[in-house]
Structures are given as C-alpha cells and as structure tokens.
Symmetry: C2
Subunit: 211 residues, 2 copies
Amino acid sequence: MEETQVKKIPNATAKRLPLYYRNLKFLEELGTCRINSSEFSKLVQVPSATIRKDFSHFGELGRSGYGYEVSYLISVFSQTLNVKEVTKLALVGAGNLGKALLKNNFRRNDDLVITCAFDNNETLSGTTVGEIPIYSMKELTQQIKKRKIGTAISTVPSKYSQNAIDLLVNSGVTAILNFAPGRVKVPKHVHVHYIDLTTELQTLVYFNENM
Amino acid sequence: MEETQVKKIPNATAKRLPLYYRNLKFLEELGTCRINSSEFSKLVQVPSATIRKDFSHFGELGRSGYGYEVSYLISVFSQTLNVKEVTKLALVGAGNLGKALLKNNFRRNDDLVITCAFDNNETLSGTTVGEIPIYSMKELTQQIKKRKIGTAISTVPSKYSQNAIDLLVNSGVTAILNFAPGRVKVPKHVHVHYIDLTTELQTLVYFNENM
DNA sequence: TCTCTTTTGTGATAACGTTCACAAAAAAGA
DNA sequence: TCTTTTTTGTGAACGTTATCACAAAAGAGA
Ligand SMILES: NC(=O)c1ccc[n+]([C@@H]2O[C@H](COP(=O)([O-])OP(=O)(O)OC[C@H]3O[C@@H](n4cnc5c(N)ncnc54)[C@H](O)[C@@H]3O)[C@@H](O)[C@H]2O)c1
Ligand SMILES: NC(=O)c1ccc[n+]([C@@H]2O[C@H](COP(=O)([O-])OP(=O)(O)OC[C@H]3O[C@@H](n4cnc5c(N)ncnc54)[C@H](O)[C@@H]3O)[C@@H](O)[C@H]2O)c1
C-alpha cells in the first residue's frame, strides 16, 4: 500500500458524524467560525470527551487553548460524508408517508435529492409531487438504471416491501431505507436500514417508565 | 426490599424488545406456537446467541431440545413493555409528516393511540384527521391535562420545536419523539428521542460506501 | 428404558464504546 | 519575554455489548 490509510473510523463515531456536520453548518450560518469541544457539546448534546475522541480519528483537527475552526471541521467531515456529491434517491410507495417525504425532499440538505417515485396505484402514475414524477412499478427498473440511482426509500406497506425491495435490488440499488418494520432478505452487498416508529415509541415509553 | 427484584435489563436488550414482541405477535397470527432461537433469528435478523442472552434476563423462558412457547414469550414481554395499558399520545404540528402519522395512527398496534393533535395554523383547528381532532395551540395545556397525556410526538419545524416542546413539558408531558433534528433543552425527568431522517440516510450512504 | 438429537442457558472471553484525567501545546495577558 | 489560562489529544480505566462454546436439560425415537 502506497499511502498510509486513515485508521478505520469506529462505527459509533461514524453514526454521530451527520449530527456533527449538521450542527457545524448551523454554526457556519450563524457566522461562528471557532468552537471548542465544550461549547459544541452543549449544542449537540454529546459529552465533550466523546467529541474530542471522535474528532481525533480524523487527525489533529484543533489547537490547544483555542478550539476548532468551524470551516476546517466542515471541510474534513464533508469529505468523509461525501456531501459534495449529490446522492440521488428513489422512493417506492407514494402513500401518506411517502408523499410527506416527497414534499419535504430534504429541502435543507443539498446532498440528498429524491429524483423519482414509484407506486403500484396506477392512478398516481404520471402525476408529480412538487417536481418529482411518480411512475408505475413497470417503469422502475428502466428509470433507476437510466438515472443511475443506488439508494432508495421504501414506504410501501410491510406486506409488499419484500417485493418492492427485490425489484429495487434487481435494478441496481444497494442501499435502502425501509419504513416498514418487517425484515427483508437481500444479498450481502445491499444495506437495509429500518426506521420503525412503533419500536421507537415503545422504547421511548419503556425508558420513560423505567428510568 | 421484600421481593427479589428482577435484575436490570441491559439497555441493548430493552431496545430489541419491541422488535421481538412484534415478531412474536406475527408468529402468533400465523398460528405458530413454538419457536427456537435459530428460527427466530432468521425472522428478526438478530444472532441466535444474542436472542438467548436477551431472553435469559427474564428468567428461564424456554425448554432445552424444544425451544420457546410463543404465547409465553408474548405474555412475558407484553408485561415488560406494558402493552396491555394503552399509551395515549398527542401530536404537535399537523403538517405533511404529522398528518401522515395521524392517518396511520399505529393502526396495527393497539397499545399506542394518538388521541389529539395541535397546530398553530388556525385554519386547521376544529378540523379532524380520521377521528383525531386538531386543536389550536392555545388549547394544548388544557387538553393534555384533561386527557392525562404523558407522551407526545413533535412534527413542527426545527425552528419552533423548542417552543412547542416547552409547552408540552409545562403541560405534564415527560416523553417526546421529535422529528426535528435540532436538540432541545428539557428538564432531567423528560425524555426526548430524535428521529432524524437526514442523519439516517447519510449514515446509510456512508456505510454503503465504506463497507 | 436407553440412546441419540436438539436446543437451551450461561460462564468466559473478546470486541466495542465511553469516560476520566492530565501532560503538553497553544493562546492570552501582563 | 514570562506567566497564567485554556483547551486539545490521548493513554488508561471502566462499562457495556456481542459472541463463543459447551455442559446440562429436555425431547424424540426405538
Ligand atoms: N404513516 C405512518 O405514520 C407510518 C408509521 C409507521 C410506519 N409506517 C409504515 O410506512 C409504510 C407506509 O405507510 P403509509 O401510511 O404511507 O401507507 P399508505 O397506505 O398511505 O401508502 C402506501 C403506498 O404504497 C403503495 N403500494 C402498495 N403496494 C405496493 C407495491 N407492491 N409496490 C409499490 N407500491 C405499493 C400504495 O399504493 C400506497 O400509495 C407502511 O409500511 C407503514 O407500516 C407508516
Ligand atoms: N416531511 C419530511 O419528509 C421530513 C423529513 C425529515 C424531517 N422532517 C421534519 O419534520 C418536521 C415537519 O415536517 P413537515 O414536512 O411535516 O413540515 P410542514 O411544514 O408540512 O408541517 C409543519 C406543521 O407545523 C405547524 N407549526 C409551525 N410552527 C408551529 C408551532 N410553533 N406550534 C405548533 N405548530 C406549528 C405548521 O402549521 C405545520 O402544519 C420538520 O422539522 C422537518 O424538519 C420532515
């Protein structure tokens, strides 16, 4: 190996990166150009020692007795998160939840853009939500390949998510955010993350009652 | 202490409980009355050793060479998750996302019920979504107290979530699921969980590109 | 009843993550 | 320039979570 590869970033750190990034952008908007770990801690609600440890995996980003340059942190993290490149997304299942996501379309994040949607309800196909066209499921493979989309959101009912996701995977999608809780089978190279609102609420209620 | 208290259930286990519970109910619907840890592992996509360790915190729930009785597991976990008691929820911010949640209203989960919603858009107050009435923010405290609600969902824009959540907390709410990513300040006895779709997607994309 | 098979429950261990605490570096002030 | 203050970066300690691996328990079959 020619270059000394950056040490593997721990999982837990990687999961906090988008949070850090978002808050750094917020500080930048405010005109704050310098931040120390304890002030940043108040903003993101992560202990300052954790923040410093996390940052340290990317090199020595700060200066003792001074803190961190906001713009420099942004430049480092935006590289890791690859936010310069726009990630084009597809959405399957333009129902209530799906349409809410389409209307919002990560307005405040220019690195994530839903560019097309699909639904098996034929009365929806040909319509648009905002700028986003809704296609029939028959057009899915063709559109996804044409648009070179690798990431998708599924908001179809649980019962049909295996089907919808098979179709996505066969069209070349390798990362899926699934709002239906039922676990789906996918090849090893495909990543599925679940957002399960019921679980989230039950966990919240549990921790609220037991702690 | 009179009774020997059940040993503290590890955090990681508690977070998986709703997943286990949901899938056990699914098996029950299918008429499956017996399951072993390796079959259950396939269903929930959690390693069988983890499942057995998790279960073991609740006592000896299974039988060697046989597995677990689905109905018995359900009875044990439903107690811990307190699903017999209905948790009444309020929702603030009946916009696109809020209305999608109201329309769905955890249809498949009879232990979670959104019973009222609030919005500062006066044209919404007096209307209903499904059976759920939308009130103006002025009525929030009165309604939440009257209905004895302790848990709420916030789908107001980030900018206003501190305000909305202050109002909820002052009305007696102690657990909040917040869809706006900006961290809010609350008293120590109040629990706030965040669902941050942007972070979720960026993390998914990151893991997809780096693993 | 006896044997073989299945599967649990759990100590032990390894991997991962958080937090502490402080030397060293840099900034700020005198 | 010298002293004081601030704040980083990081080993080390600690705590939690995941995984292994197997004895013991129970079931199934003959
Ligand atoms: N809306 C919520 O509050 C909420 C909460 C938690 C979980 N969810 C989950 O999100 C999913 C969607 O929820 P929703 O409220 O938007 O439901 P919805 O019924 O409003 O929307 C589902 C959409 O998927 C489409 N669809 C159905 N089968 C399809 C298929 N095979 N291929 C393509 N499209 C298909 C339907 O035409 C419909 O437009 C569900 O799995 C639900 O469990 C929703
Ligand atoms: N919809 C999405 O796809 C999506 C995705 C990620 C995050 N979010 C977050 O969820 C939140 C809501 O999103 P949305 O798409 O439903 O937005 P929206 O604008 O459709 O809805 C917001 C609702 O909140 C109400 N509101 C505004 N200020 C209020 C206040 N002070 N008190 C009470 N109600 C108030 C508005 O009247 C409106 O009805 C935002 O914070 C957004 O960042 C949404």
